[in-house]
Amino acid sequence: MLRRGTTRGWRAELAATASTLLLLIAGLAGTATAADTGGQDDSLSALHSYVVSLGGGHGHSTGSAPSSDASDPQLADDPELAALRAFAGQIGAGKPAPAAGLTKLAQADNMLDAMREWFQQGGRAPTPASPTRPHGPVAGGTQPGEPPPGATSVGSQVCATCHASQTESYGRTLMGRLGRSGKGSKLECESCHGPGSAHVKAGGGRGLIISFRPDDLSRTAAQNNDLCIGCHTKGHQTMWQGSVHEERGLMCTNCHTVMKNVSRKGQLKTAFQPETCAACHQKQRSEIWRTSHMPLRTPSLGREGKMVCTDCHNPHGSYAESQLKKATVNEVCWTCHADKRGPYLWEHPPVTENCLNCHEPHGSNNDAMLKISRPRLCQQCHSGGSHVSNPRNPGVTLYAQGRECTHCHSAHHGSNNPAGARFMR
């Protein structure tokens, strides 16, 4: 864990390490600013800090060359950095003209403006986006959405020059940390965005580099996803190809945000995972607001939020129905409700076969998330003969009140009692 610093003695580092750990435990350890400015000694970080300072920590350093009187002596002494600074200084200074024949990346971004265009064009409908029609600067590429031929890699340092805030937030993500660790050398900006020289020479802008923005229709979902799947092809993502979400043309970036941490895990677009899923699954979003539900709601005053969709489902595909994480519905339920797993001496077949025969997992208006109230729930199958066939007037019979059939047949999930063949013990 401890490694002797290059410029400081081991005692200093030991003291610093102890201090930092102490602060970590206390939850009050320094500041990111302090740590960044005082704790990084590599060129990229120095430039990064410098760029951050230009942009007030957030904005772009558009076109402004780093001044030569940078206060950090490291900036002045590092020849690599000097070269980089010179390169960055050219950015925007001579912005090249757009390539001939380029059109806007996207036409009107809303229906009202589209209608205006329609009227302005004399009633000609706006042309639907199509890869057969050039879509901005990407027209110069070999394929829609691909960087133009001849584009070369410039390295992440150059990207950080302008995209300082993104670089900073990305550095806090797991992927960013992986890049920092040196174990993920492939995780350069251009690993996903493609060679960036054309983009840099153009002074930035969209079109000359791979974009994952939802309004960029120049690339298919599969093309975008292939970039992610190139690495994420194991574990939970193994079954992405052919999954329902893949089939329906979803992109990884529909749910994930790569450049910053919003959620604690999985780099999702929302802090609480079910809200990401609810963006499309509005029906399920509504169901969790029924009175009988699992703790799936967005936490309010601390309550709820104890479960998330991926406790049961794998949105990247699975070997079971409804993208469940286990082979059957029951096996999923038994993860937490192992008491119902059996095998019992006396089994109740619809229970053994599928919990969803009686329960509505996303929420219900009935006790225990039952699909309908009892005794009708039971009478769906027990439809005639003996006492089960009585419609049970709630104003007349005890067995229409409260928990009805389960007043007596309370072991309906199964019984291991030799006296429980009728699920009463």
Partner: protein, 814 residues
């Protein structure tokens, strides 16, 4: 607890300035370390707090009858809202800037019954460790009424004097006076001028608490290998409501257990441990890549309580062998301990012709072998003589189920635009549990049943699926897909030998402009069974069983949505769908049972529609609206089972259950002072209603009208309705960084104020939500409830509440 929380919170806040100074000093000399984090703490003030009791008042008779008052149980169902100071979140992220060590630690809601702690530390790309501890409560009631002693243990007792009195009022045919006496006694009142003995009734809490420890480790040191290990250990404790039916007779041995019901607080004390360990290898093939993983999965459930005993409040000298007959003691078997062990092999292989194969082979072994409990609890003895229980055929079940799964997916990119997905899946649940046969067995503690032996039958089944989908995505604008699927489901001892379901589906996505996307899908399938194996003439109750999950059905499913940005500031996302299931007339059953229609579920129709809307009124004011409506109609036909033509039309009755759900959500965010002050408000209303329209049989028999006598009113089920509403108004004030600096702090400080109004309103005691303590004639509007005078419930469920809460909090992010 409050002192602990106050000390924790206060102590944490007090050391902030000192720690900040220390941090700055440290950072002056530290090389290669970073940290940042967040701390949020505050306090709640209840302007209106629902009571812990059952309702309007906590004294009789108000909790006997359906209540219109409030109780806090539903509000605190999944966590008790802190009544004063709280530490909502502490997050610290830190590590070395060279990526050799990173760590995140979270502490959420410290000191509450829903607290959570997580620690994650790793060297990215090498080792990832995680630890967690979490509490999740499930509170059902804070006001359940109980006459039982020993709540929480496996021995529930009732005061002997009370049992003696209640038994004295029991009879095969109770008089009204006896019922009234019991009613007065149980309810601790003197409504009918009865005995008026005050029963020792106490308030108890029905709640379970899950405490879960988790640990995980992931190793990616080798670029081609990945190792994972996950473990969880969950301990669940508490009490839950559980009903027990019992028999009573002064003349007949072995009475049917239908005299009455007793609801008891059953003990919960169990532990579930789940563990996964896997190794995965990633390699290459001549056509691309492959990976292969092997995973061990184990799950071990240990129920500390194998059974529990409870006194029968209505009998103290009841016996299986002498009058009065019936159980004086209920011995209830709780769920047995069990375990699962299994191996899963997953692989993905790139093949020629742009094909990727993904396969799974899994073998799981489910086991359960808890000793059978002794059912001779009421004077019965084991032996081979008359009136004796036959010895069990085995000391335990030796339950053994093996499940085999193979799932195979061939994904082929025929051209860049065309893809094909072929899936073949086979699941075999093989129940190898011995087929034990019980003769002269105890029937619910009441006596010995010698009618016919009972044999435990196998529940084996297999499920075979095959499907093929062809997708055409010529460009980003269009996606078309169509496919076929088939399923064959066989059962060892089901009502039918097998079901076969086949159908087709189609879907498309159309995104012609950046501001317009629509998705839609349609699916239709038919399921038909093979060989209805239950003899229709053997037992009407069994023969009439027509389980919806095996019977013939025609199913249509469709859904669609449109995402359209109308203007720069207005986005609309309407969506809707249906799931239409019809169970066609069953010719086979009709012929046998002389009915024009089959019994059971006839139709199961669901549809929903909704829309989301996002509107930016000004750059500083943004709003969202969401509305969803869902309707579910279920139509049943049932019949009483008496007479020579038990399923004749005139003996049938029908029931239509209609569920309607409205959910409305809206929120607004106003940057009142940009960068300084944000105001956010949101409101949600969830309205649900379940109507049950039952039409009695034409023959007007009591057995099919729901009446005990022809003078009783017709079957009327009141709607079950629930309305949940919540209003939140929140203000966020971002303290000027210069002020923060002047205070000697570093980072971003946000002050938060919040007002919450929350209400749940539920009606209909008839179904589940307002279980009366002891049903009596007075509680049922003068109607004589069958056996009402012999039953006892916990009266635990009151989900109504209204709460108003003001929250003040501060958040520090550094």
């Amino acid at each position: 607890l409050r002192s602990f929380k106050t000390a924790l919170l206060g102590g944490t806040l007090l050391i902030v300035p000192a720690a900040q100074a220390l941090a700055q000093d440290a950072n002056a000399v530290v090389a290669g370390w970073y940290s940042y984090g967040n701390l949020t703490a505050g306090s709640n003030i209840f302007v209106e707090k629902p009571p812990s009791g059952f309702g309007k008042t906590d004294t009789p008779p108000f909790w006997i009858t359906p209540s219109t008052g409030d109780s806090r149980a539903k509000m605190d169902e999944y966590g008790k809202i802190p009544r004063s100071v709280f530490l909502k979140e502490l997050w610290i992220s830190g590590g070395r800037t060279d990526g050799r060590f990173d760590a995140d630690i979270w502490a959420d809601w410290v000191g509450t019954d829903f607290q959570r702690y997580q620690l994650r530390f790793y060297e990215a790309g090498q080792h990832y460790f995680s630890l967690g501890w979490d509490q999740t409560p499930h509170l059902l009631s804070t006001s359940a009424k109980s006459i039982f002693g020993g709540v929480g243990s496996t021995r529930l007792t009732v005061d002997p004097a009370s049992r003696t009195f209640l038994q004295s009022q029991m009879a095969n045919s109770q008089t009204q006076a006896q019922r009234d006496n019991i009613d007065d006694f149980i309810n601790g009142r003197n409504l009918f001028g009865g005995a008026g003995f005050p029963a020792p009734i106490g308030n108890i809490e029905l709640k379970t608490l899950r405490e879960k420890f988790t640990a995980g480790y992931r190793n990616t040191m080798l670029s081609d290998w990945e190792f994972n290990f996950d473990y969880s250990n969950e301990h669940r404790t508490g009490t839950r409501p559980l009903d027990i039916g019992y028999g009573f007779s002064t003349t007949t041995a072995n009475p049917r257990p239908s005299a009455g019901a007793v609801e008891v607080p059953a003990p919960v004390n169990d532990r579930t441990q789940n563990a996964d360990a896997s190794a995965e290898y990633l390699g290459s093939t001549p056509w691309g890549r492959f990976n292969s993983s092997v995973k061990y999965s184990g799950s071990f459930y240990d129920n500390k309580n194998k059974f529990f005993d409870t006194d029968n409040p209505f009998c103290i000298t009841c016996s299986a062998t002498a009058a009065p007959f019936g159980p004086s003691l209920f011995r209830y078997a709780l769920d047995p301990s069990n375990n699962v062990n299994g191996i899963t092999w997953n692989s993905m292989i790139d093949l020629p012709m742009q094909t990727r194969y993904t396969g799974t082979v899994q073998y799981m072994m489910f086991r359960q072998n808890d000793p059978f409990i002794d059912t001779a609890t009421n004077g019965l003895t084991f032996g081979t003589g008359p009136g004796q229980l036959n010895p069990y055929p085995a000391a335990s079940l030796n339950g053994e189920v093996n499940a085999f799964l193979t799932n195979n997916v061939f994904y082929t990119r025929i051209t860049p635009e065309f893809t094909n997905t072929l899936r073949v899946r086979y699941y075999d649940r093989d129940d190898q549990t011995p087929q034990l046969t019980f003769t002269n067995y105890a029937l619910a503690d009441g006596g010995i049943s010698t009618t016919q032996p009972l044999t435990r039958l196998s529940t084996s089944y297999t499920r075979f699926n095959v499907s093929d989908d062809l997708k055409w995505q010529p460009n980003r604008v269009w996606t078309f897909g169509a496919g076929y699927f088939f399923e064959r489901f066989t059962r060892a001892h089901g009502e039918v030998d097998a079901t076969n379901e086949s159908g087709g589906r189609a879907f498309f996505t159309y995104q012609p402009y950046t501001w317009f996307t629509t998705r839609s899908s349609l699916q239709y399938s038919q399921r038909r069974y093979e060989n209805f194996v239950v003899s229709p003439t053997a037992d009407p109750a069994v023969a009439a069983m027509r389980p919806f999950y095996v019977m013939n059905r025609n199913q249509t499913k469709a859904d669609g949505s449109i995402d359209i940005q109308l203007t720069k500031n207005l986005t609309l996302i309407p969506n809707g769908g249906i799931r239409w299931i019809d169970y066609p007339t069953d010719t086979l059953l009709n012929e046998v049972n002389l009915a024009t229609n089959s019994l059971g579920v006839q139709r199961d129709h669901q549809w929903f529609v909704g829309t989301d809307l996002a509107l930016r009124i000004t750059p500083e004011l943004r709003t969202t609206f969401g509305y969803n409506f869902e309707e579910h109609r279920l139509y049943l036909e049932n019949c009483c089972g008496s007479g020579s033509t038990p399923f004749a039309d005139q003996n049938k009755w029908s029931s239509q259950i209609t569920q309607r759900y409205h959910v409305f959500m809206t929120s607004a965010l106003w940057n009142a002072i940009p960068g300084k002050l944000d105001i956010r408000a949101d409101y949600i209303a969830a309205l649900t209603n379940e109507a049950n329209d039952t039409i009695g049989c034409a023959a007007n028999l009591t057995g099919c009208t729901g009446k005990n006598a022809t003078t009783d009113p017709p079957v009327v089920w009141p709607d079950e309705r629930n309305i949940f509403q919540r209003v939140n108004v929140m203000a966020f004030y971002y303290v000027d960084p210069s002020v923060v600096k002047q205070m000697g702090w570093v980072g971003n400080v946000t002050l938060k104020a919040r007002y919450t109004w929350e209400r749940n309103d539920n009606s209909n005691w008839a179904t589940d939500n307002f279980t009366p303590y002891s049903p009596s004639p007075a509680d049922a509007g003068g109607i004589d409830i069958t056996n009402g005078g012999k039953s006892l419930f916990l009266a635990y469920n009151n989900p109504n509440y209204t709460a108003q809460i003001v929250t003040l909090a501060a958040s520090v992010a550094w």
